[in-house]
Assembly symmetry: C2
Homo-oligomer: 399 residues x 2
């Protein structure tokens, strides 16, 4: 995998284990450091119950002097009261001390179990140890990408370049997440680092647009996490002038592509999933109505179990669209599974049910298309199916 990794200039990384999960040998602590002050933007969970690191980081973006992101996995530091806030703040202070900067220049994230205090002795020794391993090598980036995972089975990373006035700028995105995924205003942890130069407002706006078309368009189980955070840094190390005009728009599209890759990687690794489902909604009045319909279909356990069972049960899909709270008539709606038209403007269409079932059974990636006759807006939305394995993983996961 290292041959595909593109490291943006002026960053160093480290990922290691400090013992947050006790004897569990998995990595649990990551550092992303910019060697120069970077512009930073962030989008966070809208959950009323939000974790301590979200409360701390939210107050620190957007800013122009960010130096680092410190992340621990295995413990969410959520629902931990004032002690949680002190611990999140302390993580940034420890990191800042090692970098010779102010704590406010460090952003912090946590992910894992809710409701347990952080084991601070591990972290107090873990951060200084980890800082000694900071490196700009691709292997260091991969170690950091691994250290942010919880029930994920694989690293989620996306890289892009963009040419600006003869200079190549580089972006790399990292994410984690496999359940408790139903971002309302953000998603699980994701980080996009670039060596571009941007005004803070430009970066903030580009991130919001990218998140709206990516992390806002996925759901594994409809449960919005307490810790959802997307952070992006742009440190200007590529040596270009601040992006504007067409270059800035292209940067926004590139950022969206990276966020979409990461969002889809989360769905592809959804807990217990046997299918990756792309919902395409077309012909709606507004993109937000299209998203509302897609989200409602994506969150129906009856739709999810039907896809798991290879059952082309289009009635469950149509009826889920019907309770999305969006006004339409049955005669406005046509529905395809793969290339099979099953329902056309409010009427069932004769079809080869065995062939549709084969399509669902033989493909891990499947497409469901709902076409309305109400306008020109639409969306794509990604979700997973509901399987025995999802139930097993979440019935056996212990606090």
């Amino acid at each position: 995998m290292t041959k595909d990794v593109l490291v943006p200039r002026g960053y160093r990384f480290a990922g290691g284990r400090c013992g947050i999960r006790g004897a569990d040998p998995r990595k649990d602590l990551a550092l992303f450091v910019s060697d120069r002050e970077a512009v930073a933007a962030g989008v966070f969970t809208q959950n009323r119950v939000c974790a301590a690191p979200v409360q701390v980081s939210r107050q620190r973006v957007p800013q122009e002097r960010a130096r680092a992101i410190v992340v621990c996995s295995g413990n969410a530091n959520a629902c931990t009261g004032e002690q949680g806030l002190r611990d999140a703040w302390r993580m940034t202070e420890l990191t800042a001390h090692l970098l010779g900067c102010d704590a406010r220049q460090v952003l912090v994230c946590s992910t894992g179990l809710i409701g347990k205090p952080l084991p601070m002795p591990c972290i107090e020794t873990g951060i200084p140890t980890l800082a000694k391993q900071l490196s700009d090598a691709p292997t260091a980036l991969l170690a950091a990408a691994e250290a942010i995972l919880t029930t994920d089975t694989r690293i989620k990373m996306a890289c892009r370049t963009q040419e600006v006035a003869g200079t190549e700028i580089r972006l790399v995105g990292l994410a984690k997440g496999a359940a408790m995924i139903a971002p309302q205003m953000a998603t699980m942890l994701a980080f996009v680092l670039s060596d571009a130069t941007l005004a803070p407002a430009s970066l903030d706006q580009a991130l919001r647009q990218a998140v709206d078309r990516s992390f806002h368009c996925i759901s594994v189980d409809g449960h919005t996490s307490t810790n959802d955070t997307v952070l992006t840094l742009a440190n200007g190390a590529a040596g270009i002038a601040p992006l504007q005009g067409e270059d800035l728009e292209r940067f926004g599209r590139t950022l969206t592509e990276i966020c979409e890759d990461l969002a889809r990687a989360i769905v592809a690794d959804a807990e217990g999933a046997a299918h990756e489902i792309t919902l395409v909604v077309e012909g709606m009045r507004t993109a937000s109505e299209a998203q509302q319909i897609a989200r409602t279909v994506a969150n129906s356990p009856l739709v999810k179990t039907a896809i798991f069972g290879g059952d082309p049960n289009w009635g469950r899909i149509v009826s889920a669209a019907g309770y999305a709270g969006v006004e339409f008539s049955e005669s406005d709606l046509s529905l395809w599974i793969g290339d099979f038209l099953l329902y056309e403007r409010g009427r069932p269409v004769n079809h080869d049910a065995a062939a549709v079932s084969r399509y669902l059974r033989d493909n891990r990636e499947v497409v469901i298309r709902l076409r309305f006759e109400l306008g020109a807006a639409g969306c794509r939305f990604w979700t997973s199916d509901l399987t025995y394995e999802y139930v097993r993983l979440n019935a056996e996961y212990t606090t």
Copy 2:
């Protein structure tokens, strides 16, 4: 069971099999007939995609001249276009012809698979055959109660009496439903028949209040059906004067009790359920905010799988409350599972996790209580857990 059945005066019943499910031997056709004209009220699904019988019945209530309800199971007659409307209308016409009344005096319901046309030849011969078996015997009522079921494993019935000016009036309620249960404005099929005398507006209002505290307070899987219908008839056969004042209020409470019994019976028979969960929300500003929190917790697959696994994962419950869209602070919230206080005003409470886990494992009926500090409103809400069996039933259920 017949010894517990209380038949209101002036009604006859029949339930039988006409072959809607092909060779399947289950009953699939039911008739509820009032021998005199009855006041009727109804509440129906708010799904934008609503079945043909819902469209037909909705136009016929409230009314003062209702004579019958005809119900078929095994086929929902939903998403069937104009043919579906003609078939639903024909079911009422066939019934009316046998009773010597107008088709508009007959209400109709269907439940089962979505998207297949009704097998009308079965129904054309089935209704006249069934009409010959109409009887006021408890066994006839039970046969009708059985004939409305689909994946239900048992009959759902509730009986009550009320004394009015020295006369006993009788109410009996019947329901079906085990999945696709997330009533937004109504629920699955439920019927409450009484021999009371009421003005149509009084019955309509009493029904809406009863439904709001019963069927609106359950969810199995968050998927609102296309066919949800609650109908109530009051035929005045007890020979009392029209209910008003205190008697009418008591009737409303009795109707609510019956609807609550039926709603809880649906959750108790939820597909694959291993637990019946009562959510108690207290101390909220309004009942609707309390319901919104309860519904969000009830629909979280992560909460449902935790209860299935006997895992007292209170963090999932608190975080689900957090994304319900209701404003509160963590310090407003305390949480109990059974008698165990796990979270108090925003802070985890030391507790015996093994004992809480034993409580969840040893009891099919469990109680989760969320207490806020924001007001005096609250609600009770009933739901089920998410099990391997739910996934199996719905992955293997074939269109």
